[in-house]
Symmetry: C2
Subunit: 175 residues, 2 copies
Amino acid sequence: MALPDASMTIDKQNYRQAMSSLGSAVNIVTSAGASGPAGCTVSSVCSVTDEPPTLLVCINRESRNAAAFREAGALCVNIANADQQALAQRFADKAVSVEQRFGAATWRTLHTGAPVLDGALASLDCSIESVITVGTHDLFLCAVKALHSGSEDGDALIYFGRRFHRLAAGRPATP
Amino acid sequence: MALPDASMTIDKQNYRQAMSSLGSAVNIVTSAGASGPAGCTVSSVCSVTDEPPTLLVCINRESRNAAAFREAGALCVNIANADQQALAQRFADKAVSVEQRFGAATWRTLHTGAPVLDGALASLDCSIESVITVGTHDLFLCAVKALHSGSEDGDALIYFGRRFHRLAAGRPATP
């Protein structure tokens, strides 16, 4: 059945409600440019292609972090494990300073100099190949230059239905 | 600590291994153009902006489905619930015909004519605003024209660690 004009019902709130059903990994995305380290929690990250290894990060282009990533020309996607929920919340909270964010965990670097999070499920250290602006947001197309895979047994931290969830790596699939 | 040249280790396999840690929703993406219905299972879907409501779908540009989506100029992202794992597997299996794929579920239409899956957690019916080619893949930038949100109590179907998982909507977050 075709609704007469369902498009009239698409406002921000309806869209956000529907997208809250799109479960996603929780990522702490970092960089280190001339103005120092920067980082925020991002759910809009996805793989683009493995020829060559390329992923995509989407964040608000007006944010301080988007500016920092553009300036640095590089970023690291750290896929949070389930034990890093509190850290992810720090990196999502505008009231928490850069020092307080980075002070709460251990970091190293791999190739680009962007902070690599100790204990992440995986970290992908990338150069930013291009930036595409779509409305309020920037799409960062990122070429993976170095990576670190953590323990394969780590539980995932998933954001779904406006809440954090722990997803056990070993839990069996749907019966 | 900086490794001397960690970038040398980035091959397809290492990249895929790291990205298997990136948990994601499982989406059945459909369209209906002049050459009939088409659809496949896609994990690379993310929100871009809510001003105006826009999402992104990434699939192999050489695939039959990418061609069908480009031809139709529209697609519907159906976010699978945990009970739709078998259906998602059908839509991911190249050996399963279009008829067998669509015959296994109930569909309707909303605005663009793309098939809308009964029982999905949410369905977002979109016009394709632009297509950006990155290596082997197409990024479809999609404006949401109509949507349907299903039950808020539905469990999510999450792909993580190369396996399907059921994520209960009501399960408490990490303690």
